[in-house]
């Protein structure tokens, strides 16, 4: 296993990749190995140096608790993290994340999960769901930056992320994804271009219920990172994709930017198009670009983002990376290639190629959008 400290800590890891996802609006359940099969059909998009999955709806018995997936590079880190967690959180359940031996994966870090809620005294006078979310974000950032060799892999409710170094099929086997059922799965196969795989560097990247997979390289990363760190987030996973998860969390949860307007930030309209809009719409886009310009994701990307209300896909403003979407009944599929969708759903109702910067969004029935 490679530890994070084995590398130059300042190295970022741009990568080419394959992504896939499926989401049922009616919250019908799928086994995790569906996402594995889909990714496996795009083997050439990865090089075995990273794969990962986010499953939503996988912990119905703990749906009210934050599910913290922790990765420890060595056992000592677990002790200090658990001391840290027990100060501020009520832990309802905890266990090692079940794995099985897989040929090719011989030196994996330790994975552990905790189902928690912040203690009331930790929240002080402000006891609300929003305050609890905010508290969890601050603790997650604290663990990632302060506790040596401990990383929060995911921290949402009724969801979890499973990721590591290996081909998608190996990681799926390792984490026994066939044993989980979820109503939304997001998967990623990685082709890192310069550093050897690091387990924490595999996608998805997360914050609370947000999980994001990303194919691309953000040329504006330098400013995106400096912008998001201004608001207390810390990029610690050595990849640009991480910043996108935090930007989304910041924009949508904290700044209350409506989901439909996220593309206006991440893949802004060109000024020429904005100039031609009707007055009120023009003002909206002009203002968003001025206020959130530093969150514009410039450079090639296709992302799929899972969140509390559903899932969406988005590409950059000139679409420099592939993304295709399909529907079958209440299920939305978004992937890098049609083949990845057809592999798990041969007869789709519709399949289409979204335009540059066009959001493809699916919402759970009854979700507040």
């Amino acid at each position: 296993m490679h530890n994070r400290k084995d590398y130059d800590w300042e190295i970022r890891n741009p990568s080419g990749c394959g992504i896939t996802s499926l989401m049922s609006a009616k919250k019908n359940l799928f086994r995790g190995n569906l996402a594995v099969r889909s990714l496996d059909n795009m083997r050439e998009r990865g090089n075995g140096l990273g794969a990962g999955y986010a499953g939503y709806g996988i912990y119905p018995e703990h749906r009210e608790h934050y599910a913290l997936h922790l990765m420890y590079e060595y056992e000592d880190a677990r002790q200090s993290t658990e001391n840290f967690l027990s100060q501020d959180f009520k832990i309802f359940d905890e266990e090692p994340i079940p794995t099985r031996p897989v040929r090719g994966i011989d030196r994996a870090p330790v994975f552990h999960r905790y189902f928690v809620l912040p203690k009331e005294q930790a929240l002080g006078t402000n006891i609300s769901e929003a305050a609890a979310d905010e508290f969890v974000v601050s603790r997650v950032t604290e663990i990632n930056t302060r506790i040596e060799a401990a990383f929060v892999v995911s921290s949402g409710k009724n969801m979890g992320v499973f990721k590591g170094v290996g081909f998608p099929i190996e990681i799926g086997e390792f984490f026994r994804l066939d044993e989980y059922q979820g109503y939304c799965w997001i998967g990623h196969s990685r082709f890192p271009t310069n550093t050897p795989g690091w387990w924490g560097g595999a996608h998805p990247f997360t914050m609370l219920d947000t999980a994001i997979v990303h194919n691309g390289e953000i040329s504006s990363y330098g400013i995106n990172r400096r912008y998001i760190e201004m608001f207390g987030y810390r990029c610690t996973m050595m990849t640009d994709s991480e910043a996108i998860a935090y930007l989304f969390d910041f924009l949508h949860r904290k700044q209350k930017v409506p989901l439909e307007l996220i593309p206006a930030v991440f893949s802004s309209e060109f000024w020429n198009n904005i100039d031609r809009m009707e007055e009120k719409e023009k003002e909206l886009h002009q203002t968003i670009r001025q206020v959130y310009g530093s969150a514009l994701l410039n450079g090639p990307f296709a992302i799929v983002v899972g969140h509390r209300e559903g899932m969406f896909g988005l590409s950059d403003r000139v679409k420099l990376r592939p993304m295709i979407a399909a529907r079958k009944d209440d299920v939305l599929y978004i992937a890098s290639e049609e083949a990845a969708i057809r592999e798990i759903c041969p007869e789709v109702d519709s399949v289409w190629m979204p335009r540059a910067g066009e959001m493809v969004a699916g919402f759970y029935e009854g979700a507040s959008q």
């Binding site: 741009p14 400013i223 201004m230 001025q290 206020v291």
Partner: protein
């Protein structure tokens, strides 16, 4: 006896000379006299090349006077001559334009990034490449509402000024430069859809129609400040300091104050216009706040810019300025130009603009307020690459002064304070001012900025970004070559060879 020898020698090839007298006519400094043929007075030559440029026979060359002092790395000819001058006059030695001493130019040690394979470059000849930016204050947060199924803003949230290119014209007062040069800046700012700053000398009434592209300055001398003037621009600027002479006020010698300047500045003809060193109603940050809001009240809340020189504590000062309510912080580096300044101030005070932008941007980020205001960087932006690097270090836009004057013909002879500019730029002598056609000069300004615009688009495309906001503060795309680690740390830039991180 003469203690001070000429700096230059005017050499006239008498075989080629046709004795047309153009050189004599053109010299604003009286360095040539016609006695059957042109006879040079070398001691008056400033090396502005006006005579050379207008000689139809290419018969004139200007060379450095080959006056050999005994080599001495410590006592340079400049220092020896300075002592002779001061021993004679007992005064302060004056000069003009920017610091010309061989301090390291940090921009020259910064290299830009380009895309290869993993992220594609973007072709600015075939795809959109956006340099537009908006200057002014932004709110912390926006409020949205859904009307008729569409998301809209609950209320207008911005009071900013648009520029189509992030290159503005730095404040150069009417008085320090001629009417025609000043008008050329107005014309070009309009044509380019960018902005010019008036500087401290007011704005002639007939140029009020260019107000949409002008930011009005209020300096310590308050020259020309009256309600109509304050309201004619798209914003106002409070001048605290200038890169070439931090801590002292503007100097306009009486020789440069004829009738029309006196009218615009509202001072008597022929008097020296020496601005007070500080603004006498600003002795603290809370005083600045009062003036910022006084100007806002007077202008119906147009944006207010505060211009400061880049000094050691610039980061904290800029933060205070933003918190005091300013919408823009304009930082002028220690190489910024001037129409007149003491050598000692011009050459020894302040810090480089690269460092100033870096520490201000970083400080504002640490305080979580960088996104609320605008940073303008100036102080010897010489080329498009300088502009790109300053924006990548954290500026929203840059302003050019010297480069703008050079495009009109300035040769940086550093004699603006004499008022004899042969090129009709830094003079008020009507026979010299007439030489500069404002339309011609404006066209050259426009050409220069358009040229830079193309170059900026090219390097942004190479970096794989197609909007200016993705360059702003994106230090990841800069690397330092041959800079010490402390300087790199201050700039927030990694050394060459370091990968992305």
């Amino acid at each position: 006896m003469r203690m001070i020898q000429p700096d230059f020698r005017i050499v006239i090839d008498q075989d080629r000379c046709r004795k047309c007298g153009r050189c004599v006519f053109n010299c604003g400094f009286g360095a040539l006299e016609f006695k059957e043929k042109p006879i040079p007075s070398h001691e008056k030559c400033v090396g502005c090349h006006r005579c050379v440029s207008f000689c139809p026979e290419n018969a004139i060359t200007v060379e450095l006077n080959p006056l050999a002092f005994r080599p001495n790395a410590h006592w340079t000819p400049f220092l020896i001559k300075s002592i002779y001058k001061q021993a004679e006059s007992g005064g302060i030695l004056l000069t003009s334009m920017g610091n010309d001493k061989p301090y390291p130019i940090l921009n020259d040690y910064l290299l830009l990034d380009a895309c290869q394979v993993t992220n594609p470059s973007i072709d600015p000849l075939r795809e959109p490449m956006e340099l537009r930016t908006y200057l002014g204050r932004r709110p912390e947060k926006l409020e949205f509402e859904k009307t008729n199924g569409n998301w809209r803003l609950k209320a207008s949230a911005l009071n900013t000024v648009k520029v189509e290119v992030p290159i503005l014209f730095a404040p150069m007062s009417y008085g320090s430069i001629s009417y025609n040069a000043f008008k050329a800046l107005c014309l070009a700012a309009k044509e380019l859809d960018t902005l010019m700053y008036t500087g401290e000398g007011g704005l002639p009434k007939e140029l009020y129609p260019y107000g949409d592209h002008i930011i009005i300055q209020v300096a310590s001398g308050r020259f020309g400040v009256q309600p109509e003037y304050l309201n004619v621009g798209v914003g106002t600027q409070i001048k605290i300091g200038q890169g070439a002479k931090p801590g002292i006020g503007g100097h306009l010698p009486g020789e440069k104050i004829p009738k029309h300047i006196s009218e615009t500045r509202m001072i008597p003809e022929g008097t020296d216009a020496l601005s007070p060193a500080p603004q006498h109603d600003i002795y603290s940050i809370e005083d600045l706040r009062m003036l910022i809001y006084a100007l806002k009240e007077a202008t119906g809340y147009k944006p207010v810019c505060v211009k400061i020189a880049a000094v050691h504590n610039v980061a904290a000062i800029a933060s205070g300025i933003l918190r005091a309510g300013a919408d823009q912080v304009y930082i002028d580096g220690f190489r910024g130009g001037t129409g007149a300044a003491p050598y000692i101030t011009r050459d020894h005070l302040g810090i480089p603009i690269e460092i100033a932008v870096a520490v201000v941007d970083q400080r504002l980020r640490e305080e979580g307020i960088r996104h609320l205001g605008t940073i303008i960087a100036a102080g010897s932006v010489r080329c498009a690459a300088d502009a790109v690097k300053l924006i990548a270090l954290g500026a929203d836009a840059v302003a050019i002064g010297t480069a703008a004057l050079v495009s009109m013909g300035c040769h940086i002879c550093q004699k603006c304070h004499t008022g004899n500019c042969s090129w009709g730029i830094a003079t008020q002598r009507q026979e010299l001012v007439r030489r500069l056609d404002p339309e011609w000069a404006a066209e050259r300004l426009v050409n220069l900025v358009r040229g830079w615009e193309h170059e900026i688009k090219d390097v942004m495309g190479a970096m794989g970004i197609n909007a200016l906001e993705s360059l702003r503060g994106n230090r990841e795309r800069l690397r330092g070559l041959g800079l010490d680690s402390e300087t790199l740390k201050t700039l927030g830039v990694k050394p060459v060879g370091a990968a992305m991180g």
